[in-house]
């Protein structure tokens, strides 16, 4: 893969997350019944930031869970290498909650679809929102995000890399080009 450009730097990532946190609070009319669920891997780091930002703005720490969607993928009969099954931990009752699902990039929509199934298997939230740092288009399913950090038109041969301090040592969003086969 070859590097093309940096889309967001650390400050821009912080501002985007700050805006999303404000939008979530506004849409939910406060922190009542609010919770965040991060999708592996970078969605978890982003969800942690949003929980902290909401606490800073509203003085309330809302619950957070983590979700692995591997067992809900729709391509398990087709893939070559097996994805590792990672931890799912939702240490609170989802019933009646307003859940913000958090992922780094929204692309085909298949991860979000799997995450919805995985979440609904664990309880019956009142409302599920989707928050992503980058929406890069090319949806294959009727899914849209409620909160978007950056809308980024891309081609399918491009790769959007979200980096976080927790996972990669820095906060950034980068655009890469896949090598031609």
């Amino acid at each position: 893969m070859t590097f093309k450009s940096r889309i967001l730097n650390a400050d821009e990532v912080r501002r985007a997350l700050t805006r999303i946190a404000h939008e979530v609070i506004e849409r939910n009319k406060g922190t009542q019944r609010l919770c965040f669920v991060g999708i592996h891997t970078r969605g978890i780091s982003l969800a942690k930031r949003l929980v902290e930002l909401v606490e800073r703005f509203e003085g309330q720490r809302v619950p957070m869970g983590i979700l692995d969607i591997t067992l809900y993928r729709d391509d398990l009969t087709e893939i070559g290498l097996q994805p590792r099954v990672r931890e799912t931990r939702i240490p609170f009752d989802l019933n009646g909650k307003a859940v913000v699902l958090v992922d780094d990039v929204l692309y085909t929509g298949r991860t979000a679809r799997a995450a919805l199934d995985a979440l609904i298997d664990q309880g019956r939230p009142n409302r599920i929102y989707l928050a992503v740092l980058v929406d890069r288009g090319h949806r294959e399913l009727p899914i849209r995000a409620d909160f978007v950090g950056k809308n980024l038109p891309t081609s399918r041969s491009e790769v959007v890399k979200v980096k976080t301090v927790e996972d990669d040592g820095e906060d950034a969003v980068e655009l890469w080009e896949m090598e031609e086969k």
């Binding site: 891997t41 692995d68 591997t70 067992l71 809900y72 993928r73 398990l76 009969t77 087709e78 893939i79 070559g80 290498l81 097996q82 994805p83 590792r84 099954v85 990672r86 931890e87 799912t88 931990r89 199934d117 298997d121 664990q122 790769v159 890399k161 996972d167 990669d168």
Partner: protein, 310 residues
């Protein structure tokens, strides 16, 4: 993207010959994740939706079969079950013909239990489909060994350098053989102990001894095996009291092992034969934990053996 890619896995589990340590560790980690699924109010995930799995048991075993079938159902696979006493093998059909017949019905994977060693290997060649060995003769019972390893790791952490004593009828035990194969692959030192008539000539990678004290001393865990009473009819044991006097795991003898060393048993247990009855219910005993873990481990085995390009 930057995560290490997981290892690829053999499309069968006959014994551990085609598996390496990284694959086995990864499988045990997956089993850990399956525990979370089993702790939910709705214990079901869609991972194996569309797969049809057959449990084919030419030798009866209710609990292993139920454990496998529940594991498959919790992964959303369709399950059919073939028990030989209730079907055509009593009418003289060979194992091969039975399996071929089932294969015409679109089975994706087989879970096989046979009284003869090697049938799962042959079935794997006949069918060219994933085969999971649920016990063949005295040879292997890999999912039992995996759930034992999982239960041991849950209590002891890494098995690297840990001493595990297996006590009882080693000679006729597929559980002992599979553990003797698996546990050293995970870094453990295995000592197998029993009366000389119930020990094999040798077991690769395992120390054999007739001295119970030597086996238990400094052991991090002790595994007692079921003593099959029919062994006495064949003259391999002089009497039950004699076996008990020499090899029963009692509270006093368990004191030879490390202070917190847990006790395992693959079941079904003969209380007061291979294991002192009260000890089986003590906090040292992991027998019930083994059964509970069996399901999570079998879900992980099904995941790794089945998922991927067919």
């Amino acid at each position: 993207m930057s995560e290490p890619s997981p290892p690829s896995f053999p499309k069968h589990l006959l014994d551990f010959k085609d598996w390496n340590r990284a694959q086995l560790e990864s499988l045990l980690e997956t089993a850990q994740m399956m525990q979370e699924v089993l702790a939910r109010p709705v214990k079901k995930v869609p991972a194996l939706s569309g797969f049809t799995v057959a449990t084919v048991f030419f030798e009866p075993s209710t609990r292993t079969r139920i454990s496998f079938e529940l594991a498959a159902r919790r992964m959303s696979a369709d399950v059919v079950s073939f028990v030989s006493s209730a079907s055509s093998t009593v009418k003289g059909e060979t194992h091969r013909d039975t399996l071929r017949t089932l294969d015409q019905m679109g089975i994706d994977a087989y879970i096989l239990r046979t009284d003869a060693a090697g049938v799962p290997h042959q079935a794997h060649r006949w069918l060219r489909k994933p085969v999971i060995n649920a016990g063949d003769g005295w040879r292997a019972h890999p999912t039992q060994a995996l759930l034992d390893a999982f239960t041991l790791r849950e209590r002891l952490g890494s098995l690297e350098g840990k001493k595990i004593a297996i006590v009882g009828d080693i000679l006729h035990s597929r559980v002992a053989r599979s553990n003797a194969e698996l546990l050293p692959m995970l870094g453990a030192c295995v000592v197998a102990c029993g009366p000389s008539t119930l020990l094999p000539g040798h077991l690769p990678g395992v120390r054999l001894t007739t001295n119970l004290r030597e086996a238990l001393e400094e052991a991090d865990a002790v595994m007692a095996l079921r003593l099959q009473k029919e062994r006495m009819d064949r003259g391999l044991l002089p009497s039950l009291p004699e076996y008990i006097a020499g090899y029963q795991i009692t509270e006093a003898r368990l004191a030879w092992a490390k202070p917190e060393a847990p006790l395992l048993h693959p079941g079904p247990m003969n209380r007061d034969v291979e294991i002192e009855g009260t000890l089986a219910d003590s906090p040292r005993s992991l027998v019930e934990r083994q059964v509970a873990n069996g399901q999570a481990v079998r879900m992980a085995v099904l995941y790794h053996v089945l998922v991927g390009k067919r």
